[in-house]
């Protein structure tokens, strides 16, 4: 039982919003669609839900063609970004909606529906609010009801569009854990959209990074975090320092940089670009080095240190306050990289939708 998407394309007028999406989601998996605004996440989710149709491509679930089915026939649950609760119904009636619209032959009796709803209300921890209307609830409570409404019909696939987007940080964190629990205990296949990386990495079994209507990378959160497959993913995940380097027998070299901490790469000799996170760069005092510290600013726990060479190349790094005590403005430093990603210069950007194999010994629970 899995969801299979291939060659999916969708355009609105002249804009190609999805350009050949390939994705397979096994049953029971929790997937995050991550990407910048306008990358097509919502469009993809709506197509899976049956609220929109692609111009080309295939979408099937468990072997059956879903493009031939209406939204109502697909038996999915969809949670909208702004909840879309029915304002004229109580919480109880909102949650019961999917059961009350079933054809008479399949519809459970009144008492059965009430029992299901009561169970969900308890499970959602909003038992006391059953007879309130949506206007009388907080954002977090509405979100729970929206989820309860989507779950009441026991959907095989649960789709959520930025489910926690409108909530404050604390509530988000709570609901995030709670959603993971809901997913695990209900055994549904879940796809959620977010542009919050932390959310995607904390919650998902696999993360799908989208950009400009294509999938840039699919993989386990750690894998994507440590080994971004394309320059776009690297930049998107905070590898904001970009440096020209020269490859030589799999090793990168650049003047004033200590890159011996990076593993060897199967990249042809020649020009390449190194992507680094500021936190993975450590300035080390060295009298003959070409870089000089030009700025030291404190953000509290971290020191933000800017180093510059004679050619004017600025490199920003972040070090824990304690480790930066022996640095001073004007001091000559070399820069040591602890981790980073290298791409051959001039490689077509974003051309490879790459499934990154995940080979950590300990898989997540």
């Amino acid at each position: 039982m899995s969801l299979a998407i291939s060659h999916l394309a969708r355009r609105f007028g002249a804009t190609e919003v999805l350009r050949g999406i390939e994705l397979e989601v096994p049953q029971g998996e929790l997937i995050a669609l991550l990407g910048p605004s306008g990358s097509g996440k919502t469009t993809l989710l709506r197509i899976i839900a049956g609220l929109d149709w692609p111009d080309a491509g295939r979408l099937s679930f468990d072997g059956t063609d879903w493009l031939a089915k209406s939204a109502a026939e697909r038996r999915i649950g969809f949670v909208f970004q702004h909840y879309a609760l029915f304002p004229h119904m109580t919480m109880r009636d909102n949650i019961a909606f999917g059961l009350t619209v079933l054809p008479r032959a399949e519809r459970p009796g009144k008492t059965q529906i009430a029992a299901v709803v009561d169970g969900l209300l308890q499970f959602l921890q909003i038992g006391g609010l059953a007879d309130r209307y949506p206007a009388e609830l907080s954002g977090g409570q509405r979100q729970r009801v929206a989820l309860g409404r989507a779950m009441a019909t026991q959907p095989r696939v649960l789709l959520l569009d930025e489910p926690f987007g409108a909530l404050d940080a604390q509530v988000r964190r709570d609901l995030r854990r709670w959603l993971r629990g809901v997913h695990d205990s209900a055994g549904t296949t879940t796809i959620f959209v977010t542009h919050d990386q932390e959310e995607a990495f904390e919650l998902a079994d696999r993360v799908v990074v989208m950009n400009g209507g294509i999938i840039e990378q699919i993989g386990h959160p750690d894998q994507i975090y440590d080994h971004p497959a394309t320059p776009f993913v690297a930049r998107f995940l905070g590898l904001t320092v970009e440096l020209p380097v020269t490859m030589h027998t799999g090793r990168a070299c650049a003047a004033g940089l200590d890159l011996t901490g990076l593993p060897r790469r199967a990249i042809a000799d020649g020009a390449a670009t190194l992507f680094l996170r500021p936190a993975d760069i450590r300035p080390v005092p060295e009298a003959t080095a070409p870089f000089h510290v030009t700025e030291i600013a404190s953000t509290g726990a971290l020191l933000r240190i800017v180093a510059q060479d004679a050619a004017g190349c600025r490199i920003e790094s972040e070090v824990p306050r304690r480790d930066g005590r022996d640095l001073a403005v004007g001091q000559a430093v070399s820069l040591r990289a602890a981790a980073g990603q290298i791409f051959p210069t001039g490689a077509p950007i974003g051309a490879v939708p790459a499934e990154t194999p995940y080979t950590l010994k300990e898989a997540r629970p």
């Binding site: 939204a71 109502a72 909208f80 879309a84 029915f86 304002p87 619209v101 209307y133 609830l137 409404r149």
Partner: protein, 284 residues
């Protein structure tokens, strides 16, 4: 001011817009002079008549017949307008087709057209050799000089009330609610009856009530097509005019007052219904 400040727990509430006193004063003055005073004058006039005499006038056979005709025809017109007006609003909001804006503009013609002109045109169309009359007469349906004619004229002049009250609500309706209903398995009919209709019901009720109230008082369009036979096709407001021409001021006032009372009772009922329906829906 002091008392208010104390009562509200200290501190004047800050006003967002200045000039509340002036604008409110102007509004109240206007409402007083243009709306309230005439109604009060009418009520006083009615009180002068005395309850017994009032009852006699209103229950006189000719008055009763006129009131019955007026209310029945207005009800017919309103039922028709409720359905048709809802349909019109739906089509104007939900579909894109050539000529939509023209159709939208045409909805206001009954508002803009002098009612007498409308009455004359309708009479010409429905008379036995008119365009519609030619078709209807062989089928044994006569409109002109019957209650149907009265209802047709009333519905013509009051349909924009339904369309124009429902249309903006339909436009603002959050389509994600409908999509949510669809993903939950609702059929198109269930989406309409369980999600869309409840959302527009309050404004729909108001539109229909105003259309009904307007139909009760419709005069210009009706008198041309009705034939105005006493006891048969004579509407209440025409009877009031006739009484006035006979210098029977009491008779005119009693009839007018009865019409006002019916209309008011309906407006109150519909407002009450609307507030009941929307009480707990207002967003926090």
């Amino acid at each position: 001011m002091m008392a208010m400040a104390v009562a509200s727990g200290g501190g004047r509430q800050r006003r967002v817009l200045p000039g509340f006193g002036l604008t409110m004063g102007l509004t109240l003055t206007y409402v007083g002079i243009v709306v309230l005073l005439p109604v009060i004058a009418l009520a006083l006039k009615g009180a002068e008549i005395g309850p017994v005499r009032f009852w006699d006038i209103v229950t006189a056979p000719r008055t009763l017949a006129a009131l019955r005709l007026t209310v029945t025809a207005a009800a017919l017109a309103t039922v028709f307008n409720a359905f048709y007006g809802l349909l019109m609003a739906w089509i104007l909001v939900r579909y894109r087709f050539p000529g939509r804006r023209l159709l939208d503009a045409m909805m206001d013609i009954p508002f803009a057209l002098p009612t007498a002109v409308a009455g004359l045109a309708l009479t010409a169309l429905f008379s036995e050799n008119g365009w519609y009359g030619q078709v209807l007469a062989p089928a044994g349906i006569s409109v002109v000089y019957t209650i149907w004619g009265v209802a047709v004229a009333m519905s013509f002049t009051s349909i924009p009330f339904v369309v124009r009250t429902v249309q903006p609500i339909l436009e603002d309706l959050d389509t994600s609610q409908e999509e949510a209903a669809r993903t939950l398995g609702a059929t198109p009919f269930q989406v309409f009856s369980k999600v869309i209709f409840p959302a527009i019901l309050p404004s729909f009720l108001v539109g229909a009530t105003i259309a009904f109230a307007r139909s009760l008082g419709e005069f210009g369009a009706v008198i041309f097509i009705a034939g105005n036979l006493p006891m048969k096709t004579e509407i209440a407001s025409l009877l009031a005019v006739i009484r006035l021409e006979e210098y029977d001021y009491n008779g005119a006032a009693a009839i007018a007052l009865t019409l006002v009372a019916i209309a008011m009772a309906l407006l109150v009922l519909s407002n009450w219904l609307q507030s009941r329906l929307t009480r707990r829906r207002v967003p926090a």
